[in-house]
């Protein structure tokens, strides 16, 4: 195991975060705070409790997930796409480093950033609404699992993308809508039964539901199902990455 290489990639990626602090950390925190002001304080004050918790409190897990999902994808996809774009990927490919180690470095750094960001957003939320986390260990488990899974997904997008447009396309056109429709701001149970069935096809529902359960013990679907779906998505991403490296897809021609 080339631990020096994993460490080099990890620290390189983390250094990029600190260098772009405004864009990486401050900007998501500001936009999440705006959600709290608009949905939590302004609109939320006119909404009754949802499943026993105030609306402002209800949306916290969904908002954290929204940021963690999008940031995991953005960080990981950009992390691997940029060396491809500027050509420095040659060094990674010619180094004595295995695919597993490359993924560990890039995805590890992207997931770390997302987890830090998720916790910062959680702390920010605590300034606006009272928070109580019933199952902190499960909360962290969901946070880490989601960050890792979506960083892997982001890594795949970064490999697949051959232009900045493609890099933006999946997060903008697929992930953000799925997250908004996945119960960030409402309970899927509030939907008419037909739409509820449609909503259950959205994988993000399971992530948000499980994450929200760890806070308030309220869930749209069973927790076991949430964990199972997250794990299934993780396995799908791992299989895809395995295939990418085995075939050299978009890396080695």
């Amino acid at each position: 195991m080339n631990l020096h290489a994993v460490r080099a990639i990890y620290l390189f990626e983390m250094a990029r975060t600190w260098r772009t602090l405004l864009q990486s950390i401050v900007s998501p925190v500001v936009s999440t705070s705006l959600y709290f002001v608009v949905f939590g304080a302004a609109i939320g004050s006119r909404i009754d409790h949802v499943e026993g918790v105030s609306y402002g409190t209800f949306i916290v897990p969904g908002l954290v997930m929204l940021s963690v999902l999008t940031q995991s994808i953005t960080n990981a996809s950009f992390g691997i796409y940029f060396p491809k774009f500027v050509g420095t990927i040659y060094e990674i490919l010619s180094a004595p480093i295995s695919y597993f180690e490359i993924v560990l470095g890039y995805v590890g750094a992207a997931a770390t950033k997302s987890i830090i960001l998720g916790l910062i957003i959680l702390a920010t939320a605590g300034l606006f609404v009272p928070l109580h986390i019933h199952h902190p260990i499960w909360m962290l488990t969901f946070l880490v699992l989601t960050a890792v899974t979506f960083s892997l997904f982001g890594f795949i997008i970064g490999i697949w993308a051959d232009g900045f447009e493609k890099l933006q396309m999946i997060p903008m056109l697929v992930v953000t809508p799925l997250t908004f429709l996945g119960g960030s701001f409402y309970s899927v149970n509030m939907l008419p039964s037909g739409w509820r069935t449609v909503a259950l096809l959205n994988p993000v529902v399971y992530l948000i539901s499980g994450f929200r359960w760890s806070f308030y013990e309220i869930a749209d679907v069973s927790v076991v199902l949430s964990i199972g779906m997250t794990a299934a998505f993780l396995v799908i991403c791992l299989v895809m990455i395995g295939w990418i490296f085995r075939t050299g897809y978009r890396l080695k021609n």
Binding site: V86, G87, A95, P96
Partner: protein, 307 residues
Amino acid sequence: MSSIISVANLSKTYGSGFKALKNVNLDIKRGEIFALLGPNGAGKTTLISIICGIANPSEGKVMVGGENIVTSWRKARSLIGLVPQELHTDAFESVWATVSFSRGLFGKPKNPAHIEKVLKDLSLWDKKDNKIITLSGGMKRRVMIAKALSHEPQILFLDEPTAGVDVELRKGMWEVVRGLQQSGVTIILTTHYIEEAEEMADRIGVINKGEIVLVEDKATLMQKLGKKRLTLHLASKLDTLPESLAHYKLDLCDNGATLVYDYDTKGERTGITSLLGDLRNAGVRFSDLDTTQSSLEDIFVDLVRTS
């Protein structure tokens, strides 16, 4: 001298069906400077990319330092430093950070003393804290060499190391390469500048259309294929060549003011003595003469044209 790189029956066919390498066999000796010459698209970069692990071979076997690049890739790759043709750099990193990153990537623990030595050898020490984006093209090229040397490789690939570098810097780069050879590093360079190969290389390989056309010691190559040219500056202009000189294949140039005679140095007879005798008999007088050796460039152009 033992081989440090051994390429056997190597072929590469791209997805488009283009055959970039066709059954290439090549041995690089330990400690030498090997220049790989070839026109654009000949397969130079593909060959280097396969040896370094950037591209997958379609067929054949490559051994680096006795290690198979496919089955023992970790050991093989750790012996190699690569300076690619394009200036690929992390624009916003400092010189020190990017060179240290490369060392880590190749599995070596931190060694600030070594990085310092590399940067000083390449005259980059006073730029160590500068962001790469602020450096000139020549300096960026040296940063890339520093990155390649950061993990103390035994083999250094320089793909067009002096492309776009001015004459002064190019000569500086040659000094660096010679210094590296003296420290025991084997160097493989590809170049468009024949002058560079002529100046630097111990051996020369010519690749064309994916095939190795020739591999030879530079001196032997120059001697074997080198032609000499005798130019005679005539005392008075000639309109036509005298009949008695027809069999010499002479060229009458400069409106009849000079006679040019090409001869082969490896031939048993150069024909110069009899030519000069026949010229005197024909009454052709000359005021001066000079001889020139054909350059590697002429040899290269000849080879590529005929292959």
